[in-house]
Every structure is written in structure tokens, then in C-alpha cells.
């Protein structure tokens, strides 16, 4: 009886693992994180950009590098919380010897709990096996919804119509060789070194955004930022922090919120003795801050705005 039950359990687990793998293969499309992790393991960089979707769409390493004369990679992704940045940095150091880390700071990610984000499982999924991966598992994945952790296809649960397309794509050399061609979509293009060029689709600009409220500050965000600071110091890496600009319309809507955030983070970075540029309050000559250059009020830049911003950023990082 006991042997039979064990056999039942083992068969169930095996079938479950096989089915899960098949669904992952069918439903998960090619994605930015896969490309970024591949770049990290196969190229060499002096500067690494960490941060959120704002950094992902605002920093074009090719433009920045032209001015700084260095090699950089944009490792910013959607929903990258300080905890994710810390482990992403630790993982990067396994393959890279950067002399500088530039952290794009979006205050929103310091106010929300960083559980149950699909993107962290992608980061986990594409990390190659190492102690960093194990650490990240315990620090993040373990606390997420078990469906996110165990069934990575959960995020694409209803995208069955794309499964045949995914299947076909995954058979191509382009996919196997991490080619960028598959990322040329009607609304965005993934560029070299991790920059996501957002196209102007003329869609309505969403007003959704989280306003700064120091009372909601997450202790974990502070803790993991402190970890980043310490880690950089221990590894003799310079850490520079910046906040990407939002449109002037956004600033005019909630000036107190942005000023309060600026005061808090300026004090914090002074405390850590770090260079901090909040581009919401720095005049950039020739940079158009009007809403027309952004996809939304939250501050995601369109591709050309990002390139213009990247030139200015390069000057500050020179």
C-alpha cells in the first residue's frame, strides 16, 4: 500500500513537472530579461545601470557611452525593486568587473511591498545556477505566491493564441542566438545593451501613479539599498544615483509630492555620501520635458526623448 502511494506521488510529481515545462515552453514568449541576462554573461561592461521601467525606457547605453567613453549595460527592468537590484548586481558581479553602478531611483518602488511580481521570477528563472540564485530564492521567491514561483507561465495564462507563435519562434536560430529582431514590436523595440525604445502609439496617456508618502516607506527598500551601497563599497565600485525626469505636466499636478521625495532622497544620499541627481529638479538645456515626449504621466519616456535625456545623463556621468 505504502509503495503504491509513493509510486502515485512520484508519478504525479513527474507528470506535473513535465506538463509545467511544456507549458513554460509554449506560453512564455521571448523576453527582455532573457536577453539582459545573456548580455551580462557574454559581454564586458564598465558601467551597469540598475533600476525600474523608468530607467529601462530612459537610458540608452549607446548614447551614454558615446559621451562617457565607457561600456555600459542597462539592467533596468519592470518592477525592479531595491531587493531585485541588489541580487541582480550580485549576479552581475559573477561575470563583470564594473567600476561604476548607476542606480535609477523611482520612489514608487520604495513605497510598495515587493511581493508577487512576475518580473522577479523571470529574473530568477534566467539566472544561471549559483549561490546568488539560492540567496535570491530565499530572499524573494520563497515569499511569493506559489503559482508565480512554481508556474512561470502563470503570467501568460490566457495567451494560448500565442503558443504556436512561441513554439515556432523558439525553433529559430534568431531565438537561440539571442537575436534582437524578435523584439521589434509596434509599440517598443529592444536595443543593444538593454535599452527599451518606446514608440509613440498616440494612445491615451495614463494618469496612474503613486505619490510619495514617507509614512509608507518600506523598510525592506531601505535595507536593500543599504546592501547595494555596502556591496559596492566592499567591491570598490562607485555608486551613482539618479531619478529620471517625469513630464512637466506631471510635476505641475503634484509638485509637493515630488519635492518631498526629493528632500527625502537628497538627505538619504547625503547620508551615504553618494552623488545623487534628481532630474526633476535639474534644468537640462534643450531637453523637452513636455508630456508629448512621454507615454504616460508616470514618466516613461518615448525613445527619442530617452536619447535626448541619455546625452545629458552622459554629461553628468562623464
Amino acid at each position: 500500500m505504502r509503495n503504491f502511494k509513493s509510486l502515485f506521488l512520484i508519478s504525479f510529481l513527474l507528470v506535473s513537472v513535465a506538463l509545467n515545462s511544456a507549458l513554460n515552453y509554449l506560453l512564455i514568449p521571448n523576453n527582455v530579461m532573457r536577453m539582459k541576462m545573456h548580455n551580462l554573461e557574454t559581454s564586458s561592461y564598465e558601467d551597469l545601470f540598475l533600476g525600474t521601467s523608468h530607467g529601462l525606457s530612459a537610458v540608452d547605453p549607446a548614447v551614454v557611452d558615446e559621451i562617457t567613453g565607457r561600456q555600459s549595460s542597462n539592467l533596468c527592468v519592470w518592477s525592479e525593486y531595491p531587493r531585485d537590484s541588489y541580487y541582480l548586481l550580485k549576479n552581475a558581479i559573477r561575470f563583470q568587473k564594473p567600476t561604476r553602478v548607476i542606480y535609477e531611483l523611482d520612489p514608487t518602488y520604495w513605497l510598495n511591498k515587493d511581493q508577487d511580481t512576475y518580473h522577479s521570477t523571470k529574473l530568477y528563472h534566467y539566472m544561471s545556477w549559483s549561490w546568488v540564485k539560492v540567496e535570491y530564492f530565499f530572499a524573494k521567491i520563497l515569499s511569493t505566491d506559489f503559482r508565480i514561483a512554481l508556474f512561470p507561465w502563470f503570467n501568460y495564462q490566457l495567451q494560448w493564441q500565442a503558443s504556436l507563435e512561441n513554439l515556432a519562434l523558439k525553433q529559430t536560430d534568431n531565438y537561440r542566438n539571442f537575436g534582437l529582431e524578435t523584439f521589434d514590436l509596434p509599440y517598443e523595440v529592444l536595443k543593444e545593451n538593454g535599452f527599451l525604445y518606446l514608440k509613440d502609439t498616440k494612445a491615451n496617456k495614463s494618469k496612474n501613479m503613486t505619490l510619495w508618502d514617507e509614512a509608507k516607506l518600506q523598510p525592506d527598500a531601505l535595507r536593500f539599498f543599504q546592501n547595494i551601497v555596502t556591496y559596492c563599497r566592499e567591491n570598490h565600485i562607485e555608486l551613482v544615483v539618479f531619478t529620471a525626469p517625469v513630464s512637466k505636466e506631471t510635476l505641475e499636478l503634484n509638485p509637493e509630492s515630488f519635492q518631498a521625495a526629493n528632500r527625502y532622497f537628497t538627505d538619504l544620499m547625503n547620508h551615504y555620501n553618494l552623488r545623487y541627481y534628481n532630474f526633476n529638479f535639474i534644468e537640462l538645456e534643450g531637453f523637452d520635458k513636455s508630456l508629448a515626449g512621454f507615454t504616460d504621466y508616470d514618466g516613461h519616456m518615448l525613445g527619442e526623448t530617452a536619447r535626448s535625456f541619455s546625452k545629458h545623463l552622459g554629461e553628468y556621468l562623464k
Binding site: 500500500m1 502515485f8 504525479f12 508577487d116 511569493t144 505566491d145 503559482r147 507561465w153 495564462q157
Partner: protein, 497 residues
């Protein structure tokens, strides 16, 4: 540690594997360690409150037991026992009051809530208080071992959202030695999968629509029809969330060979409000019945009131009135139990009033209800929906505003002219409508057969292995395939109480 987190899955796995691989006499200690580890995982600062509640009720039990054995006169013993009971209950409920309610009455000056509200405090306070009263009534001898008693209060699956356990039914199961029983493990898996189905597929999908429409002032954007559908959605969300959580709790307890009390018995099949409370949050209802309703009903003032009302209003009404008054008190307390907010008090009083009315009208409605049972069920369902306005609203004024809009801005044509898809419901998309409808159908069929007395768990266990294999695989994969993440996904609504 959320029930839906991978951490909790692994926590239970380690607890179960260890439980059956250590010497059997140490099993209860193992459970105690895991229970405190589980509670501490939400923050060490809340552990002292659990310990305080445990120590007070344990000490009260021991003292009551000693007084019971004193060779003194009954009256003298009763006086001392009453003193111990009152002090112990004051300490128990005083802590609950200070943490949960003081801010409501005194502002933050005398409240501890500004610092923290320990998880599950309403559940373990009531469980401990029930123990003290039972020992006072000499239903059983007090537990002598502090650690064993501590397990009764803290058993981890039920700690955060019940069911509220009774010492005479639960304790012995916790302390006795258990041998691995595969049938129980399989039944536990069934309950857990079914619980997650209700939580992740029904409750969380419904929550996406409900939260959008009923969140603060959002309702102003929607017609009364959409608000009504959102309230119906909330009835599904709340039931799926709470009863799903209970299924998971029961399933986990079964892994350890422990059969917890049922907290739900298909409440939307109830044919009266009283019947509803025999099926919804049963352990709170029975707690209130045993420790509040009967003591009030049998008290001297209530006896005098009974005599007065029988003399004044006649036999039938005179008998029903004291019961109605006792019910009003009980449901006022049920409302208060839910939280420090007027909306909960009105929610409780609404139920109390309906039950009182049912009692008073019973002689006239019994025959009709027996004949038209389905209509009685529908009437009860609709009356319950009204109470969900109070439960779901952010505050009392919000509840009345929602009700007003439901009535004054209701357009029957919205059901078929596409408004439901254009407003609010479009947030979740047609797929989720389909999932909700199919999920409801499955829930209804399972509930229907259970209502007919069918034991579906046992029925499934008797099926060939290939059938069970497929059913479990489908249920497991339905959770990521059809479930969703909503604002309430990570936690359970009743874990806030």
C-alpha cells in the same frame, strides 16, 4: 506567512514530514514549535500577545480547577470562581479591546493599535475565553501542562482565521499520537485544492471587479445595476475567500490527523437568516450561542422579562420576545467582533433584527416556508446581500450611498444592453466572466450534491487511481491557469480579524 506563498507550502511540507518521522510522543511538541514559528514569522513583537492570552487562560483554568476541588461550601466556591472568571475574561477581552477597539472610542491616546494589531487576535482570544468559561462550568478538568495548553491556543493552521476551536473536541486530537494515514492525507489534499479553487479562481477573480466598482468613490462612476452586480460578486468573493481559507485550514489539519470543526455548510442554501448562521462562520455562531445567548436567555432578568412579556403579549409572542432580545445582543456582539467600525455594528444588528423578526413571525411563516422552500432560500439570499453592503463598504455612509445608488440609478436594461461589459466589468475582461460563471456552476454542483448528503471526498477516494490522478492534476493546474492576482490575493479577508 501567507497561505498562498511558496514559503508556507514548504513550511507545511517540512512540518508534516517531520511530524511522522519523530517519536510519536513528541508530535505535539513538534506542532507547538511549528505553531509558534508560524506566528513569529509575522513579527516577533506580536508573539507576547499570544503568550499573554495563553498564560491568562491557562492560569485561570488551573485556579478554577483548584477552587472546584476545595472542600468548602458550594456558595463560597462559586463566589471565588466567579471572581477568577471575571478577572480572566477582563484580562482577555481587555487586551483585545486595547488593541482592536480602544482607538475607536478614545482615539489614539489609550490605544495600542497605533503600534500593532496582532494577527488572529479575535480568534485566539475567543478560543481562550471559551476554554475559561467551560472550565468555570466544569465541563472538563483544566489542562495541567502549560505547553500542551499553549498548543491548543496556537495550533498554526487555525490561528489566523479560525475555526474557533473548543477544548473538548480539539485538545485530545492535538495531544494524541498519530500514525501516517494516507487516506487522511489524500482527503487533506482534496480540501486544500478545493479551498484554493474557491479562493484563487472564484474569490480573487470576483475581487478584481468588486474592488474596481466598490472602492471608495469609484461607485459614482457606475450605475446602480453595476453596483448590485458588484455586491453579488462580493458575496461570491467573501464566501470563496473565507470558506476557501477554511478548506485549506481543514486540509492542513488533516495532514496531522486532526479533524477541525466545520465552519461552513453551504450558507447560500439557507432558508432563513437563523439557518444562514447555522451554516456561515459556524464556530463563531456556536460560540456566541453557548457563551452569550444561553447565559442571557437563562439569566434572572430575562426570566422576569419572559414572565412579563407572556403576561402582557400572550404565550406565543411572550415566549419569542426574550429570545429576540437575546439575539439582538448576540448579533450586536457579532458585529463588534468583526471590527471597530459602525458599519459592522449595523451589519450585526441587521442580522439580529432579521432573526428576531423571523422568530416573532415564525408561527405565521413556517407553513409557507416549508411549502416554498426554494423561495425562502431566495428571500434569505437577497436579505443577506443587503448585509454585504455594510460588510463591504469602507464605512457606514459609504454603505448607505451604495444602497441609494443601487435603488435610484438602477436600470434593468443594463443587464442586456452591454453596460456591464462597458462599465467596470470590462476591467476583468470576458475571459474572467466565463471563468467566474463556470466556477460558480462547479461550486453550485458540488454544493448541491453535498446538500443532498453526498460525501464527495470519500466518493472521489473510492474512484480508480487514474481518475483521481486526473482530477488532482486538473485542479492543481486550474489554479495558475484560471486563477488571478488581485489586491486580496496574498491574504484572506478574515485573517484581518
Amino acid at each position: 506567512m501567507s497561505f498562498v506563498s511558496l514559503k508556507f507550502v514548504l513550511f507545511v511540507l517540512v512540518a508534516v514530514v517531520g511530524y511522522y518521522n519523530i517519536p510519536k510522543r513528541g508530535q505535539w511538541v513538534w506542532l507547538l514549535l511549528f505553531s509558534y514559528a508560524y506566528y513569529a514569522s509575522a513579527g516577533f513583537k506580536i508573539v507576547p500577545f499570544l503568550l499573554f492570552s495563553t498564560m491568562v487562560s491557562y492560569a485561570a483554568g488551573i485556579l478554577l480547577g483548584q477552587v472546584n476541588n476545595l472542600p468548602t461550601e458550594l456558595e463560597h466556591r462559586q463566589k471565588r470562581k466567579r471572581f477568577i472568571l471575571i478577572v480572566a475574561l477582563l484580562l482577555q477581552f481587555g487586551m483585545l479591546f486595547a488593541l482592536k477597539y480602544a482607538h475607536w472610542i478614545f482615539g489614539n491616546l489609550f490605544s495600542l493599535r497605533q503600534w500593532l494589531l496582532p494577527l488572529g487576535i479575535s480568534f485566539y482570544t475567543f478560543q481562550s475565553a471559551g476554554y475559561i468559561i467551560d472550565v468555570y462550568w466544569e465541563k472538563f478538568a483544566p489542562e495541567k501542562s502549560f505547553l500542551r495548553y499553549a498548543l491548543f491556543v496556537s495550533f498554526f493552521p487555525q490561528l489566523l482565521q479560525g475555526p474557533i476551536g473548543r477544548f473538548n473536541r480539539l485538545a485530545q486530537q492535538l495531544y494524541e499520537e498519530h500514525t501516517l494515514n494516507w487516506t487522511q492525507i489524500e482527503q487533506g489534499i482534496q480540501r486544500i485544492l478545493w479551498g484554493f479553487f474557491k479562493k484563487m479562481i472564484l474569490a480573487d477573480n470576483a475581487a478584481r471587479f468588486v474592488d474596481e466598482v466598490l472602492w471608495w468613490n469609484n461607485y459614482q462612476k457606475y450605475s446602480g445595476t453595476v453596483i448590485l452586480v458588484a455586491i453579488l460578486g462580493y458575496s461570491l468573493q467573501l464566501y470563496g475567500d473565507f470558506s476557501g481559507g477554511m478548506d485549506i485550514v481543514k486540509g492542513i489539519a488533516l495532514f496531522f490527523g486532526i479533524d477541525l470543526d466545520e465552519n461552513f455548510k453551504r450558507p447560500y442554501f439557507a432558508s432563513s437568516i437563523a439557518d444562514f448562521w447555522h451554516r456561515w462562520h459556524i464556530t463563531l455562531g456556536t460560540w456566541m450561542k453557548d457563551y452569550v445567548f444561553y447565559p442571557i436567555s437563562l439569566s434572572k432578568p430575562m426570566n422576569r422579562f419572559g414572565k412579563f412579556s407572556r403576561n402582557t403579549f400572550g404565550k406565543q409572542l411572550g415566549r419569542a420576545l426574550p429570545i429576540a432580545v437575546a439575539n439582538l445582543v448576540v448579533f450586536f456582539l457579532v458585529g463588534v467582533w468583526h471590527g471597530a467600525n459602525m458599519k459592522f455594528i449595523v451589519y450585526g444588528l441587521y442580522h439580529g433584527l432579521l432573526i428576531a423578526l423571523e422568530g416573532l413571525l415564525l408561527p405565521y411563516t413556517r407553513a409557507w416556508d416549508n411549502k416554498w422552500r426554494n423561495l425562502a432560500t431566495l428571500r434569505t439570499f437577497l436579505l443577506i446581500q443587503i448585509s454585504w453592503y455594510f460588510d463591504r463598504a469602507d464605512h457606514l455612509d459609504h454603505a448607505f450611498a451604495l444602497m441609494q445608488k443601487t435603488v435610484t440609478d438602477f436600470h434593468i436594461t443594463d443587464f442586456w444592453n452591454g453596460t456591464l461589459f462597458l462599465n467596470g466589468a470590462n476591467r476583468i475582461g470576458p475571459w474572467f466572466y466565463g471563468i467566474l460563471l463556470v466556477g460558480c456552476l462547479i461550486l453550485y454542483l458540488v454544493s448541491y450534491y453535498q446538500e443532498k448528503g453526498m460525501q464527495l471526498g470519500e466518493w472521489l477516494c473510492a474512484k480508480p487511481v487514474a481518475v483521481r490522478f486526473m482530477v488532482y492534476l486538473i485542479l492543481l493546474y486550474a489554479l495558475p491557469a484560471l486563477g488571478t492576482l488581485s489586491s486580496s490575493s496574498g491574504g484572506f479577508i478574515y485573517a484581518q480579524f
